[in-house]
């Protein structure tokens, strides 16, 4: 049976008989159903609380599935399966980071954030500090991270189209990017948090089911013996059995690997669109319940990814994957084709598209809320904004972000944008995490400290990336003509994360300014007891 499966993949690799119309029909079906759901649930979007955080009305289970959906972006779904298929063990270590990262959110951030803030990270960091400068800093960080992440996702949509629908022309891909962007804008404008959460729930459920089905099938085909899959994978990889051992991807630069892992584990729960999800449930208990659902979903998902990744090497072959359109990202779709023919390929493709859609909608919503709430309502209107007007501003921001993402996505389409995700994670781990942890746990933290940790984290990350081999000096750098790289790592986390903590600490002590102790008491009491928190 296995021999037949392998023979089938060559068909897929040549791009024949993949029934792109079937995936397209499934995708359109998904969009139609989700748009209907978004329309149905978005009745009460007239207050900021409803529009921004669904009035805190989701249950822990719903929010947990949606949270896992936020994490399962196309990058982690297609990217990690492909990473394991091509680089073996090193791809797996990456997925472990995505699971462990949840503990940072659960133990240190989520409940206290929900109890003190309302909509954004700025609510929490600026709680007991000077509102204007701190909110501007928090919004800057939120907008920057969300936009980079958004750009990476939208640009990924272009590559995905070429792979899944066999559209290779630049125009065709640009149209696909525009369609993804427009549908996303509609979700956000019509649905607000309630709508985007439901899109996320539907997509995450489909994705999990898909992965579990493929995994069960694979295990069945190999007599439920993981070792047999590994043996077959060794023969399907040009590296041979080295694919089972560490070092295939990061063997040449171990420190870079450690830096990436650090940014992953500390950055994921500090991503603004993930932080915002902690506000969509009514109390601390439901926050914990969300995590229980989400962590289980992630453990199951990444366990499946391990099987699917090695299964793809075993049945499709690493060479075929690398040379297919879309490269590493094609591992899961090619495997789907190998075991289930064009129908399963169509299903996996449609789910992959749905994934991009749902994640970009969440990102756009987060960025627009941060602008409308932190900048427009709190700074421009000094807290006197009328709710209807504030939502209009949020919608307008979402529209602008969406259009910028479409244009940016078309512009960077075809370039290597994988570093954008790594950069966004490093930024979140550097700028957001230090500011959040200090403001939740350190009494003396003051305005100067908050500004230093946020801007110090953002600045050091961007500077180190600019001076890294990502930008110049390596064969896959963005700038090829000149080499000005002085920083040896492509992931800045290992330097920028401690640096931002150091900045926040030093600036707090140097400035020495004591903030209002009453506000500190209020924040600390509310963070632990939820008194008066709505």
């Amino acid at each position: 049976m296995t021999a037949q499966l392998v023979a089938g993949t060559t068909l897929a690799a040549t791009g024949m008989d993949t029934k792109p119309m079937f995936s397209l029909a499934l995708f359109i079906g998904f969009v139609a159903i989700t748009l209907y759901v978004v329309r149905r649930v978005s009745g009460g979007n007239s207050t900021t609380s409803n529009y921004y955080t669904a009035g805190g009305g989701f249950t822990g289970a719903q929010n947990g599935i949606a949270l896992s959906g936020d994490f399962l972006s196309a990058a982690s779904f297609l990217g990690i399966a492909g990473g394991i298929a091509v680089h073996g063990y090193d791809g797996f270590v990456y997925s472990v980071g995505w699971v462990v990262a949840w503990l940072v959110g659960l133990l240190l951030i989520a409940e206290m954030l929900r109890n003190t803030g309302r909509f954004t990270m700025g609510d929490v960091v600026a709680y007991r500090l000077r509102q204007r400068p701190v909110r501007i800093a928090a919004a800057t960080s939120t907008l920057m991270i969300s936009f980079l992440y958004l750009l990476a996702q939208v640009a990924g949509a272009g590559g995905l189209v070429s792979l899944l629908l066999n559209i290779s022309s630049r125009l065709g891909q640009s149209i696909a990017i525009a369609v993804v962007g427009i549908v996303m804008i509609v979700y956000v404008l019509v649905g607000g948090m309630k709508g985007t959460t439901w899109v996320q729930i539907i997509k995450a459920t489909l994705l999990l089911l898909c992965m579990v089905l493929i995994t069960v099938y694979l295990l069945g085909a190999f007599d439920f013996n993981f070792s047999t899959i590994l043996a077959k994978a060794s023969t399907g990889s040009p590296m041979g059995s080295a694919i089972l051992d560490p070092g295939a991807l990061y063997g040449a630069n171990e420190l870079d690997f450690v830096s990436l892992a650090l940014a992953l584990v500390l950055g994921i729960c500090s991503l603004p669109h993930v932080l915002m999800r902690f506000y969509t449930v009514p109390n601390s208990r439901e926050v914990r319940r969300s995590f229980r659902w989400a962590i289980w979903a992630m453990v199951v998902f990444y366990f499946c990814t391990l099987i699917v990744g090695y299964g793809a090497t075993a049945l499709v072959g690493a060479d075929t994957i690398v040379h297919a359109p879309g490269g590493e990202n094609s591992a899961a779709p090619l495997l789907a084709y190998a075991i289930g023919g064009p129908m399963l390929l169509g299903l996996v493709s449609a789910v992959a598209f749905a994934t991009i859609l749902a994640v970009v909608a969440g990102l756009t919503l987060t960025a627009s809320v941060s602008f409308a709430h932190d900048i427009y309502a709190s700074i421009i209107k000094r807290g006197q904004a009328e709710a209807g007007r504030e939502i209009q501003v949020a919608r307008l921001t979402a529209l602008i972000m969406g259009v910028l993402a479409i244009l940016g996505g078309i512009l960077v389409n075809g370039r290597n944008v994988a570093f954008l995700v790594a950069l966004a994670l490093a930024l979140a781990a550097s700028a957001n995490l230090s500011a959040l942890l200090y403001s939740l746990f350190w009494k003396r933290y003051n305005t100067a400290g908050a500004l230093a940790s946020i801007y110090g984290g953002l600045g050091s990350c961007v500077l180190l990336i600019a001076l890294s081999p990502v930008v110049s000096g390596a064969k896959d750098s963005i700038v090829k003509s000149v080499d000005f790289h002085v920083f040896p790592l492509s992931n800045p986390g290992i330097v920028s994360i401690p640096f931002s903590f150091l900045c926040g600490w030093a600036a707090t002590l140097i400035s020495g300014r004591a903030e209002d102790p009453a506000k500190q008491a209020e924040m600390e009491v509310r963070s632990l007891t939820a008194i008066e928190a709505d």
Partner: protein
């Protein structure tokens, strides 16, 4: 406000003490958070929370970084086969999944029981609804 409701309870708060927990105008029920912050109940809650989350965070970070560092620098060790072709690295990686679930379960039950009771004590002392 809820003096009457809690008057019979073990945590009842004498009226004279209660007045110190509120600012001048009790009609607005504006809570004096600084006073709540100074109560032994709140300090106990804060201590219990921090004594759990700090060591636990340190533990899982060290365990995760140990796994990453071993994968990066002790590659031969991680490549040792344990069961068939499954090596130490994969076993340790799956163990990370397991410990994540275990720590989550430990924290959730600690928060539901111990922290929940401590929060309840603070609410009773402050006369607020939980």
């Amino acid at each position: 406000m809820n003096v009457a409701r809690h008057a019979e309870g073990r945590h009842s708060v004498p009226a004279e003490l209660r007045s110190t927990l509120f600012e001048a105008d009790p009609a607005e029920c504006h809570l004096d958070f600084a006073a709540i912050q100074r109560t032994p109940e709140f300090r106990a809650l804060r201590r219990k929370q921090r004594n759990f989350v700090f060591p636990m965070s340190l533990l899982f970070m060290l365990w995760f970084m140990a796994y990453v560092l071993l994968s990066a620098y002790a590659r031969q060790f991680m490549a040792i086969k344990v069961l068939g072709l499954i090596n130490v690295g994969i076993v340790m990686g799956l163990a990370q999944f397991l410990t994540t679930v275990v720590i989550m379960a430990l924290y959730c039950s600690y928060a539901d029981k111990t922290l929940g009771a401590a929060v309840e004590d603070v609410h009773l002392r402050a006369g607020t609804e939980s």
